[in-house]
Amino acid sequence: MSARIKEYRGTYVSRKDLEEGRVPAVRDKPEARYAWAAGVAMGRFLAELKEGRIIGRRCRRCGRVLVPPRMFCEWCFRPTDEWVYVRDTGTVLTYSISHLGPAAERIEEPIPIAVIQLDGASPGVGMLHKLGEVKFEEIRIGMRVKAVWKPPEEREGAITDILYFRPLKEGEGQEGGE
C-alpha cells in the first residue's frame, strides 16, 4: 500500500560517521581459507599450462572441444572422451578495458581484457584473459591474438603462466581457427 504507507524506515550512516567512530561498529575478518582439490580436469589443465600448452576435452557425442576441460559434457550429460591440445592463438569474441583493480580501486594503467576463442576449441568456446602490447583503440572484436607466456622457470601451473594475449603480427598464425 505504497501510497498509504506513511513512513519508510532505515537510518542512514555516512562513511565518515563510520570511519570517525560516530556510529560504533565491530570490525572483523573471517578465517576462511581453502585448498580446493583441482581434480582430474583442472589438475591436468594447470599442469599443461606449466608446460606452455593449453588443453581441452572433447565430447565425441556432440563433437565439441571444451576449454577449460571438464570430465563431463554438460550438453550430453556423459563423460568427455579425450584430451585435445588447442593452440595458443585465437580470436577476440568480446573485450573491455578495466580502469578498476580487483577491489574496485582505481588503477593508473587500465587493463584490457577479452574473451578469446582459441584455435582448435569449438566455436563460441572462449577463455577470459588479459590483452597486452596493444593500443586500446586498436582492439576489435574479431582481432587475432596469441598468448605471451612467462619464461618456463617462472611458471607454476596457473592461468597466470600466460601473461596476456597480444595481437598476432602479420603472417603469424594464419592457419586460423577451426
Partner: protein, 156 residues
C-alpha cells in the same frame, strides 16, 4: 564415473585461496543501546509489550510475538548459572593454556541472559544453579563491548 582418474600422488593438485575480506558491522539500533549501557555499567534488556518477555541481549523485535520493542529495562548484574562448560580449546581449535569456564547466566528478571566467562572460581566448584554477579572493568577502561564485563563471579 569419468573415463580417467588421478592415481599418482604427485598428480594430485590443490589450489589455495581464501574468502577473507574486512568487515565493519554497525551495532544496529538495539546493539548500540545495549553496548552504550555496558559502558555505563548497565545491562539493558528490551521488554515485549505483548508477552512481557524481557530479552537480553536485546532486540528491536520480540522473536516470539514479532512486536516492536521500544521499552528498555535495566537489569541487575546478578543471575544464576543456567548451564556451563569447562573449555579446553580456544576459538581456533588449539588448546588453551588453562581451561576456562563458560556459562549461560540467566539474569534475574530477564527472559534471556548473557553468555560469559566465570572467574574467581575453580571449574570443579561450578554447578548449575550457582548464583553469580558481574565483575566490571573499571569505567575508564570500558569500551562499549561485552568485555566491559570481565567475567561473572560466585556471590555466595
Amino acid at each position: 564415473m569419468s573415463t580417467e582418474r588421478v592415481r599418482l600422488p604427485h598428480e594430485i593438485r590443490h589450489w589455495y585461496g581464501d574468502m577473507e575480506a574486512d568487515y565493519t558491522y554497525t551495532l544496529g539500533i538495539a546493539g548500540e543501546r545495549f553496548f552504550a549501557g555496558l559502558k555505563e555499567g548497565h545491562i539493558l534488556g528490551a521488554k515485549c509489550p505483548r508477552c512481557g518477555a524481557i530479552w537480553v541481549p536485546p532486540s528491536i523485535y520480540c522473536p516470539e510475538c514479532f512486536e516492536e520493542l521500544t521499552e528498555w529495562v535495566e537489569l541487575p548484574d546478578e543471575g544464576t548459572v543456567y548451564t556451563f562448560t569447562v573449555t579446553h580449546l580456544g576459538p581456533d581449535g588449539k588448546p588453551l593454556e588453562k581451561p576456562e569456564v563458560y556459562a549461560f547466566i540467566l539474569l534475574d528478571g530477564a527472559t534471556g541472559g548473557l553468555l560469559h566467562k566465570l572467574g574467581e572460581v575453580r571449574p570443579e566448584e561450578v554447578y548449575i544453579g550457582m548464583r553469580v554477579k558481574a565483575v566490571w572493568a573499571p569505567p575508564e577502561e570500558r569500551k562499549g563491548a561485552i568485555t566491559d564485563i570481565r567475567y561473572f563471579r560466585p556471590v555466595e
